[in-house]
Symmetry: C2
Subunit: 379 residues, 2 copies
């Protein structure tokens, strides 16, 4: 055996950030990208359409395990790979729950896990009944295809979703209605489970969203009791084991005003809430994901220093690629770790992030936000 | 400006390890490799002979700055690039001192820096006279081409070097004789100087060599007084400024039994004594080198935790690529960061390294040496 070979489907920033740990460990890392010039282009060995079984099967022949930059590969494609003996991690039976939020709610209910009140919705009447039960407001989601706030809507009457209801067969025949949780903050529990069922969790983090998109992550989540940290790690383990997840699992949660911890979303891949681990943890989520899908033992998830703060860099316009502001940002913020993803600039697009690791949370916040402000606004 | 482009000549592990920070920062990083399948193959955009002016000039057209994985590119090639307006960092006039140990000794003497006694040797008589002056033993070096203990010999009479003396024109007409320093340990001072003359030093480290090859690095060097740390940093700054070095500069030194700090060798590139910075420092030597040669502000060189220990993985035979032992090494040593360079296995070859960062030096030493032992011997 000369080297271990991992193939990732999808050429986004997550595949891009799997490349450095693959280089360090000495793994062969290959990316199946949607297009030339992707964020992960350096490691791309094939460009094609991941909806085509034969094309993906060809790629799979060049690696020992297939994993993912995103959750959009059709289950049928993955099941086909698995049937021909390819190691797909996470496996299609786990990924099914990340692709369909309704199936996820159903499965997590069976596992007895804490969630917002929810209901499968097939008709306007069912939706109005749920809204009434929820004191006049609910969150309505399309079960498939949503991310970063897309496919999610606040509704106060079924009329607010008449477009979705009229085309409900486009969403598999059902929508998902959920309690609009009155939360004090959002949390995320990052963990990994290997193909050998070894499990490891990073510390719970606080995530701050703006317009449904992750903006700031603080690790560990401030003012968290030991009981809370144990509880969320246990929730992640129950999900990872119960659903047969392999690789990194991110569990997004609400901390409700009434104290309940409620599961919001799942992601079965490295996740924006875990970018802090690149510098903040002994083992980054990207290295851990590679280890986990290869069935290698997992690394330590201990923090390097007391705190890590990550601030996302969302595109401001089509010109600012942040490089113009490197000089000023680096001169003023010597402890800031700058990350840019090599993507064409576009307003609102995830273009990069900044992480600061420190024994002082105040310093980490100020330094990370300061560097981000320079990169975003040049000031 | 959409991205900054750095080109490195040489496809070894140093160029390989420049790739991850280039990915993170969002730089375009291109490698001019000697052959296909090099350690830095992932970033290689050209394969060719770096002795050929036209070939290197073609490569230089694709980047904003040229830097190096090694110091073997002929000065004439670099002077030619510079004459045509290419930014070469470090510049040829600095690199000249890294390529020729005799010129280095002459220049550092002019700067008044502390060195072992040394002498330029052109004849057997001169060598015997120097040996007599040094109480019967001296170190003899070929001024060019030596590294990792090659081109270095202990001599007690000119007869020990008759082969070199008879072919002295092969070494530019001179050899370099030096005092055989009675040292208690070896130290290395890593630093970087940008094209804007900004300077930053990492903490002084202790390097332990076996058969002339770096084996273990401890950062910071234990039992070092504040005065020593200041002194070695000042020595590095004097050299970097005095020789016009850009990028990373490693100054290898002896701590003599009589207390003297004496400069041994210089390297003008990321260096084995600085691999610990990947995980141990806020800014790694590889990121700092990229910043420095691009004229970007330098990053913090602070330690992430109190100590970092790096242990080299030298090839044991032609079969062990370490991958076979990943399972055991990772299971037993969860805090160890494993690095393998993707090179064909060969006895004595630098094939990888292990780093452990910790607030306990004892733990870091045991964990790093433990992981290395598993990878090397499978036990």
């Amino acid at each position: 055996m000369s080297s271990l070979r991992v193939g990732a489907i999808g050429g986004g920033q997550l595949a891009r950030m799997m490349t450095p740990p693959a280089i360090h460990l000495g793994l062969e890392f290959k990316v199946f990208a949607e297009s030339e010039g992707s964020s992960a282009a350096l490691a791309a060995t094939q460009v094609g359409d991941y909806n085509l079984v034969e094309v993906v099967a060809d790629f799979a022949k060049t690696v020992d395990v297939i994993t993912f930059d995103h959750e959009h590969v059709p289950l049928a494609v993955l099941e086909n790979l698995e049937a021909s003996g390819v190691s797909v991690q996470p496996p299609s039976k786990a990924l099914a729950f990340a692709q369909n939020k309704l199936h996820m709610r159903q499965r997590l209910s069976l596992l007895g896990l804490p969630m917002p009140a929810w209901s499968e919705i097939k008709t306007a009447e069912e939706l109005d009944a749920f809204i009434a039960q929820q004191n006049g407001v609910a969150i309505l989601k399309t079960p498939i295809g949503g991310y970063d706030g897309k496919g999610v809507r606040v509704v106060r009457a079924s009329a607010d979703a008449s477009d979705w209801l009229q085309n409900i067969e486009n969403f598999g025949g059902s929508l998902l209605a959920e309690e609009k949780v009155d939360f004090v903050r959002e949390l995320a529990q990052l963990s990994a489970r290997s193909t050998n069922a070894e499990f490891a969790a990073w510390p719970l983090v606080e995530t701050q969203q703006v317009d449904g998109v992750c903006s700031v992550v603080i690790a560990p989540a401030p003012r968290s009791t030991g009981a809370l940290l144990e509880r969320t790690s246990e929730i992640a383990k129950t999900i990872a084991d119960g659903l047969g997840v392999t690789g990194v699992l991110a569990v997004e949660m609400f901390e409700a005003r009434d104290g309940r911890i409620l599961i919001n979303e799942l992601a079965m891949r490295p996740h924006n809430s875990g970018h802090f681990t690149i510098e903040g943890s002994v083992t980054s989520q990207f290295e851990q994901h590679l280890r986990a899908v290869l069935g290698l033992p997992l690394g330590s998830t201990a923090m390097r220093e007391d705190y890590a703060v990550m601030v996302n860099l969302l595109g401001v316009d089509e010109n600012n690629t942040f490089v113009e502001h490197f000089d000023k940002a680096m001169a003023r913020h010597k402890a800031a770790k700058l990350h840019t993803y090599g993507k064409a600039a576009r307003r609102g697009r995830k273009m990069g992030h900044v992480t600061v690791v420190s024994d002082s949370l105040d310093f980490a916040l100020a330094e990370a936000k300061g560097a981000a402000a320079v990169l975003l606004q040049g000031i």
